[in-house]
Symmetry: none
Subunit: 167 residues, 6 copies
């Protein structure tokens, strides 16, 4: 039944925006926001690890965990939001032609960001950075901008995708 | 090049969550939030129309338009957020099997909500309600809950999808 | 005792604003937002219980408690906000005539939502749901819309008030 | 020096709130937040008036109106929130005995703040300040703190209720 | 190299606002917001101390710490925001002439508010209140308004700067 | 009188953080957030100009101006916030030695961002970008990271400071 409903919708609604490159006012899209948030997630996991490494934990440590966890939740949500905006506002027919797995890639970021909310395991955070790196590369590909990878110049120093803009 | 990166990612990352029904703590998902926001968008378009129908407009009218436009922006963003959460957090392999066009449906909501931000044309708002209705039906289908459509009991009185929970 | 105070108030107070049916542009009011937040509060209390049931707790558990507590705070605040909006924006003289204890009912929701912020005891959460159910029934009564109660179709599966809109 | 001040305070002060009905941890309640927001509402109405007084209006003027209206909406919402918190969290049986019309007073603030959102008429803003002044006096009465009225030391220079704390 | 860039900027940009008293639309500035937040920070530290004083701690206590820590983070951020607004929006050449160390004072508030985020030690909170008191006195001095200090009429009862407005 | 208070404070409070490089948990600071917001401000001014260029304006145009102005306000506030965080949280004694005019630079950003809120004149926006560029260069200088300038790869295509991380 569902499929019928959707198919009917497909027939009724013809998104003009889907055929055009940019018939809505151009906005500034930049995956750096999502990357910064993903890197923060890993950094915050490292700060939790520091507390975990202590021999004894007291109220000050619970307080520190609470602070860091709040920021981690917020960073993961920011990853989701930033990727949702690029995927949901910028990606249209021409971009999907260039990046056929864009839906899956965006959705993988959502699931991995959820995992990072639930986990304090750094490897989950690293996977998130890797997925957002892949998303950033996909984005810059659609813009015709070259990229390179380099460690971000602050902790957690992980390889990060940057646009190569130097003339 | 991009495709290689993604394919490699696909091989490295195996989402355990994707095979399971619910191995993360169950959350409460309900499309009523998205529907309420979409209906609000139409209602706010009607309020803009009221100002437009006036013969002369003054500062008080500009003020009213500003107020209503702000709320319309906010309602459209809420639609996007609410659909992103259900699509990005709840939809996993089993749900995608049931709703093969879930990616497209979620993405269509994003594009249409953007259109409603830019437009003051009620027909764009009605399309948004219809898309969110379709998304709500898809969601309830995956939950095994029947639905019915009825006019919402407040303006704009448009047909809205409700879960059929009466015993 | 409380009722006496209110009855006295009813006699003393004459709202100047209270003679009009609707002198502000009609908005969309729906208690489903408050109910969803109250149900979430109970669900989050259950998730805290899960951690409490573990034999040993470590940093990952503190992290989980922090996450859940943040969301519980937020859910309780949302209950307060959603009820404040309906009580403070929609309720005027005609509605207070139909629901003479509306002030007390709204205020009780505020106090109980505060209690749920401070407590991790599920029975406090259940009382909150019950109060918001009562508030929802009062609201729909003023709108002339019938309601029914059914378990919400997701955890915590508690009896929830729904408008009966099926033709 | 600081420590001496604090030690002296510890000796002098006996929290009245601590003996009173207070089954939730005591919080800091202060109506100055609500008053500041109500005064801002009037000030913003004056700024709208300035635009209205111009002979011709252009895009820069619409922009200014939009900016000011957004802030006015925000100020009015802050009034509602700040009063809701004191009424909903702090007022309990002992306070309602002292201020029998507290429900009506709080509700009147809500309605008037809604009016100020819809209006650009300064007299509506002045009524809001007066209602919040009355609410502030009621609050300080329950705390046993004297008050005085003086023009606030910035525009709109309206009479405002202040606690009289000077020894 | 940096200095050259800045010096060049100094030559290019001539802030008209810097010579004038108030050539932007006057806004309402009031340090009471920053003070209230700083006092809240100390109060919340006291509530953490209450948990710390317990002989045994369980999940309900972790939950309470999480709640209080969240609010403390928020209060410290509010201090920073409120001081940033007065320093960044209101302070211009004439105010800097009156308060030559205004930059340092504002910056000290930022650092101390950061410390209060990281610490649960009440003396850090007291230092924050003292710094914000000094900032409030500086502000009122530029406005030509006398001030006095008195214990705030609620916990933590610390000496707080108030404008002396009583005729 | 004020000066005496501050001088006394200077003597009492010795910020340990001021002598150390980083005795608080390291956070991720990146001026890219401030730059993105400043660039957005210019872009939004250009979108306002587009409406201004139309021969006739109607309700849809007022709506568009409201939308763009809201986003411009938000972008300017984000500039202020992002610069306040780096200046207020990261800059301590060693950084102030390297960048003696850091206080003035940060403060200039605040004033210019305020100007951009009030103005729809693109040259004001360009000055904001230039100031944030200077702030970004100052920041990277303290980190020992080289920078280069290149047009941002999206509108408004203005010269922007990027860290030079390519090996």
């Amino acid at each position: 039944m569902m499929h019928k409903v959707i198919n009917t919708l497909d027939k009724i609604i013809h998104f003009k925006t889907a055929q055009a490159h940019c018939d809505i006012p151009c906005k500034i899209y930049d995956p750096s926001t999502a990357l910064l948030a993903a890197l923060s997630c890993v950094r915050l996991m490292d700060l939790i690890k520091e507390v975990e490494s202590k021999e004894t934990t007291g109220v000050a440590d619970y307080a520190q965990i609470s602070r860091v966890v709040i920021e981690k939740e917020s960073a993961c949500t920011e990853v989701k939001e930033a990727v949702r905006i690029i995927w949901g506002d910028y990606f249209k027919a021409p971009q999907f032609e260039q990046i056929p797995n864009a839906h899956d890639l965006a959705h993988s970021v959502m699931l991995q960001a959820s995992k990072c909310k639930q986990s304090i395991d750094r490897t989950e955070g690293e996977k998130l950075v890797e997925l957002v790196n892949a998303f950033a590369e996909a984005f810059w590909l659609t813009k015709g901008v070259s990229t390179y990878r380099a460690p971000c110049p602050y902790p957690p120093m992980l390889d990060t995708v940057y646009p190569d803009l130097k003339a």
